[in-house]
Amino acid sequence: MRVLVTGMGGELGTKVAQLLEARPEVVDIVGCDFVPPRRRLRRAEFRRIDPRNREKLRDFVLDFAPTHVAHFGVYEPASRLSPAQAAKRTELASMVALSAAARAGALEYVVVRSGLEIYGPRRNRASVPDESVPLAPGTPYGMSLLKVEGAAAGVGRRHDIAIGALRYAPVVGSHVPSPLGRLLRLPAVPVSAFGDPPFSLVHPDDACAAMVAALLRKADGPVNVVGAGAASPWQAARLGGRLPLPLIPPLWGAASQVVEFMGAAIAPHIVELLRYGRTASCARCAEVLGVSPVLSTQEVLRELYEWAEVVPIASVREAVA
């Protein structure tokens, strides 16, 4: 296997590369991103390429001629990039990398990172959707995921190869730059005054294990990857000792501005989660991938809150003195 990991500079991309390094059947691992990997890689080769530099990205992928692609070049708005930048880079990384990989001629399998945002707001018709539910994204990030899945499906149709799409619940962990994780760690958490809908999370380690399993099994079609159980915004805030701040619909815009000023930008897909919830059925995951998320939503939340608070260095010095 010659695996290309796009978005290798992110937490998930780096971790997947590390897991692939331990697999003897993976001969070559190559990755690219606009930021360097977050951990030391022993066998994988990394090239720092901004997806906006199309020619460089295209030539790099064509030269490598991957047999498998793990497409993590899908950037969540307000994670490390603004919503506009994230959408632009996601589109370019997907179109350029996937088409170049297909044109290189050796491609056998592609698996893309997707998310539950692709189903749209939790509606009465399907509040716990499985993979067969019609897609109706209601936010720019959901639309972005739909385009990525569509581009990958197009590659699959034209070249007659299997295409997988891992629809992750929000990936939250102590080391992951996640807008939802940052929001939940604020002293006061905005919540809906008229509802307390359930949402599910998935731990980064489980997200990476699912990606590796998909690559090794050539899992075809979409698969929801969701931690067991659920939480609600009120319960999650209280679990972390935070103050739930009830908001009525007209105030969400103002709240977003205030929260961004406090250091945790709140993108439309996060507002959608807080107002309408976000869960899905994970029944197909074990069947298709042979693995299921180990940590439940409540365990992911507890790990998030047990992560040490930022301690100003000056305070530590004073304490030592």
């Binding site: 018709r125 499985d130 159980g229 209280r238 899905a280």
Partner: protein
Amino acid sequence: MNTSYVYDTPFHLHPDRVGVADPPLRALARRVQGHTPIDPFGLDPQLADIAGSLLRRTVRVQAVGMQHIPESGPAVLVMNRGFGIFEPTALAVALMNETGRRVRVVGAPTLFGLGTTLRRFGSIAASPADVVAALSAGHLVVVPLSPNWWTAGAGTPPLELMQSVMTSAVLPVWVRPNGPLGLATSWRVTIGPEVVNDTSIAPGDPLGAAELSEAVRTAVDNLR
């Protein structure tokens, strides 16, 4: 079915098994501490246990045929309905008393606030996706027939939902008032044996679903 279901039970709150209701002060403390998670369908096990404890004291139910209910794992209970929420409540109390299991009643209304509230106690949307998800998670799913007066027999099963439950165990249920002069001061819940489905028919086949619906409706009617 031999599949064993692993349930997420944070803070000892089980999404499928009825627990002991917390005393009021402890219930409040747990809620303030955030030790009261809900499940993906919106069920709040702590609230459901408190409501269940009250219902078990106030609603008198005589249950027949409880041996047909699986000790664990999924099943679809297709029941008659006359007054709306009374029959599902009587069935839920009977199952709590006899098996200790919770039920997921299909038909959470879209009415603002009411749907959210009923979901907290185990209601789910009348959506094939949600029914399949609840069965995949190993729950008992109650599908009410269209409303009909008790003396008029069983109503019509929802065909769209029957299409999604063709691979599951389907049990007929008849619920009727059992008080003096037919008053709803107490209830009688009768559960019949599993309706045998033709396994040669592909899941989701509309004609197969229609045949299953008719077989279930007849089985419910025969329990009167």
